[in-house]
């Protein structure tokens, strides 16, 4: 039972980190129709910037400066890159962001090298908050939980309670009408792209010390972020949150318990083949849950797509 609690907390941390990435991506996609392949690269950029800043002035200033820098870069890329490509349709946009992802990985390696960087959590959070059955819960994990929760509430407030949120939501559905009412829709787009990439940068700043700061960190998360927003429903903040948490818990619990497929199959009344080595099903009989853990989110995505093609909280068809 203790382990369930520990895994719930770990899954929550993973899920909330994922949420910080997917919230920005889902906003950008629903508003501009741009599948931003480079989104995870902004996350990586955030971690590297924050590392560089932390070597001069420590972790905390980096927490605020790095996301702003990443957001500014994101806004500039939207203004001078994506907006020009936009008129040629979706495929050039896709290729543009794809190229951007490759470029950023090379740039990062050019400046910081291929090795993992010693980017560490701040000393003040470098202690064990509490232990459950010998399992330490570091204070930094709690910090991640609270930071992500704060971001979610702030986003929710801005989107639903403020005038800016009203315009964003309107621009989401009827951009022409909003433009006719005198609002600068391209500017709104640039702002959303900047804020979205800035959020990804913030996720990088926070996740860098926890998951490691190295050139492969973007590729590791790149595909799972898309899975998250598809499951959650494009454009839905609540959907992104729920899907992130689901994926966080699924991947954590899959690894945590060594459930063997042989047990499940036997429970279903199947009998183990006498000669397993020559059986066509030997792979199925020897599989364990931790081995297939990484593909479970993709399985979930397919199930969701089959039964609710617009995602859990999505409002329109894909």
């Amino acid at each position: 039972m203790d382990m369930v609690l520990v895994n719930l907390i770990d899954g929550l941390v993973t899920g909330l980190l994922l949420f910080m990435l997917s919230s920005g991506l889902t906003l950008i996609f629903s508003m501009m129709g741009v599948l931003n392949f480079a989104h995870a690269s902004f996350y990586m950029l955030g971690a590297y910037f924050a590392y560089q800043i932390s070597t001069y002035v420590g972790f905390w200033p980096g927490l605020f400066i790095a996301p702003v820098l990443v957001g500014l870069i994101g806004a500039m890329i939207e203004r001078y890159g994506l907006r020009r490509v936009h008129q040629y349709g979706h495929v050039p946009e896709l290729i543009f962001t794809f190229g951007l992802a490759l470029l950023m990985e090379e740039v990062v390696q050019f400046f910081w090298g291929k090795n993992q960087l010693p980017y560490e959590s701040p000393k003040i959070l470098d202690f064990t908050l509490f232990s459950i059955a010998g399992n330490a819960i570091p204070a930094y994990k709690m910090f991640i939980i609270f930071a992500a929760m704060g971001i979610f509430l702030a986003l929710l407030y801005v989107l639903t309670k403020t005038r800016i949120g009203l315009i964003i939501q309107a621009a989401l559905r009827h951009p022409r009408t909003v433009e006719a009412l005198g609002h600068n829709v391209p500017f709104v787009f640039m702002g959303v792209f900047g804020v979205g990439t800035g959020l990804a940068g913030l996720a990088g700043v926070i996740a860098g010390p926890e998951l490691g700061t190295f050139p492969g960190m973007a590729a590791l998360l790149g595909s799972i972020v898309f899975v998250t927003i598809v499951i959650g429903g494009l454009g839905s903040l609540w959907g992104a949150l729920l899907a992130s948490l689901l994926i966080g818990w699924i991947t954590t619990f899959a690894v945590a318990y060594n459930v063997a497929f042989a047990d499940i199959l036997e429970a279903l009344g199947l009998s183990r083949p006498a000669d397993l080595a020559s059986s066509a099903w030997r792979d199925l009989w020897t599989l364990t849950m931790p081995q297939i853990g990484p593909i479970l989110p993709y399985l979930l995505m397919i199930i969701v797509l089959v039964f609710r093609p617009y995602g859990l909280f999505g409002k329109r068809d894909l």
Binding site: T14, K114, P118, E120, S131, G212, P290
Partner: protein
């Protein structure tokens, strides 16, 4: 006009080529390893160590056999066996007779087969394979051949040494094995299970699992399982970011016992572990320089650091490759006849630069040397790694590890 230019160019080229082949007094060693792509750091670091060793032990000491100099010629194999075979052919065509390779046993397996074939078909330009790092036991067992020499302790010898140390530590009762899900990770786990059950009957293996290689975002759930299993120590063959991720997660989860590893040092790993890994991360390796065994070792490491500030001596054995090759050439009285050199190297004994002795076992061409268990710490470190305060301090030395280890090799000699 154009023809004249072409003619002039052609002549220049021919002269240039002629000059390279005719340049007597150079022993070329092909260095076939990844110099681009994700493993480039390891490859370029090894290349620097080879160049430095050649300068220090041969070229600055008047060369070999009255003045012949060693030259290391780099070939990028992008860690692909296929690419390695192409580069091998290029090297042979350039007249190179000594092939050094180390990263990835998959590549080494491909090269040793290709070299065996080449030497059988081309008795006039045979080559030697100096395997400085690939540790797959098969290379000196089932797949052994006369042309292959391994200078690192193989995975079985290292595990044997490691389990000796674990056995001597009476506090360790429960071991957890975890590794990357591919051939090397499986080999480490299999060797650990075999050695522990044979040597330490009251040791319990409380976990034996493989995780997807390079695909794990967060090692925390694995770390929780390790802590919950009540393990006293962890053994892993992980490398790269999988090593750092696993190590950090396990330490963060409150694990205090030793984590025995093969590759948890340098290329950013030591710096990243920093204070968190102190007295927890341990390595099994074939040489160490904290404390330095002699003044010469001290100067050698300092000299390397001065020349390559962003690199480290990570593969002590490279110094021994160069030293033993030179000694074998001197003993054979030739630096071109590789058969004579190989016979000279077989069974050769000499002092190990890093302390102790070296023996190139004749029956399987496996180097027998002292194996070290070292600990990641900042105390008593003369030469730290990664430009940090931390480095590896020798904790235990297993003298001439694996001297009587069995081999299935049936060496066929020319």
């Amino acid at each position: 006009m154009r023809t004249t230019t072409k003619l002039a160019l052609g002549t220049a080229l021919a002269l240039g080529l002629g000059a390279t082949t005719a340049m007597a007094g150079t022993v070329k060693i092909a260095f076939i390893d990844p110099l681009s792509g994700p493993f480039a750091t390891t490859g370029t670091n090894g290349l620097a160590e080879f160049k430095y060793a050649a300068d220090q032990f041969v070229n600055s000491k008047g060369g070999v056999l009255g003045g012949d100099k060693f030259q290391i010629v780099p070939f990028d194999n992008k860690i692909s066996p296929k690419e390695s075979l192409i580069q091998l052919q290029v090297a042979i065509d350039q007249g190179i007779r000594f092939i050094a390779q180390g990263n990835s046993s998959g590549v080494a397996n491909a090269l040793t087969d290709a070299i065996k074939k080449h030497n059988r078909r081309n008795p006039n330009d045979r080559v030697l394979f100096l395997n400085y790092s690939a540790v797959d036991p098969a290379l000196t067992n089932a797949k052994c051949n006369f042309w292959h020499f391994r200078f690192d302790a193989n995975a079985d010898i290292k595990m044997d040494a490691l389990t000796d140390v674990i056995k001597a530590n009476k506090k360790l009762k429960r071991t957890y094995l975890i590794g990357q899900d591919y051939s090397f990770g499986k080999a480490v786990a299999a060797a650990a299970v075999r050695d522990i059950s044979a040597k330490i009957p009251d040791m319990k293996i409380v976990g034996n699992e493989l995780h997807p290689i390079g695909r794990v975002k967060d090692f925390t759930p694995y770390a929780r399982k390790i802590v919950a299993s009540g393990a006293d120590d962890v053994i892993t063959g992980n490398w790269g970011s999988d090593m750092v991720g696993l190590g950090k997660a396990v330490i963060d989860a409150g694990f205090k016992g030793p984590i025995y590893t093969y590759y948890a040092a340098a290329t950013g790993i030591t710096r990243t572990f920093g204070a968190a890994g102190k007295n927890i991360i341990r390595l099994v390796q074939e040489g160490n320089y904290n404390p330095p065994a002699s003044k010469a070792v001290d100067q050698y490491v300092s000299g390397f650091k001065a020349k390559y500030p962003n690199k480290d001596i990570t593969q002590a054995r490279i110094a021994n490759v160069i030293r033993m090759l030179k000694a074998a050439m001197e003993k054979a009285g030739t630096d071109t006849d590789v058969v004579k050199i190989a016979y000279a190297m077989e069974g050769m004994q000499m002092d190990n630069f890093w302390g102790g002795k070296l023996l190139m076992r004749a029956k399987d061409h496996q180097m027998i040397q002292d194996v070290y268990i070292t600990v990641h710490t900042d105390e008593g470190i003369t030469h730290p790694l990664d430009n940090s305060k931390y480095g590896l301090r020798t904790e235990k030395v297993i003298k001439m590890a694996g001297l009587n280890s069995p081999t299935t090799c049936k060496m066929k000699r020319p």
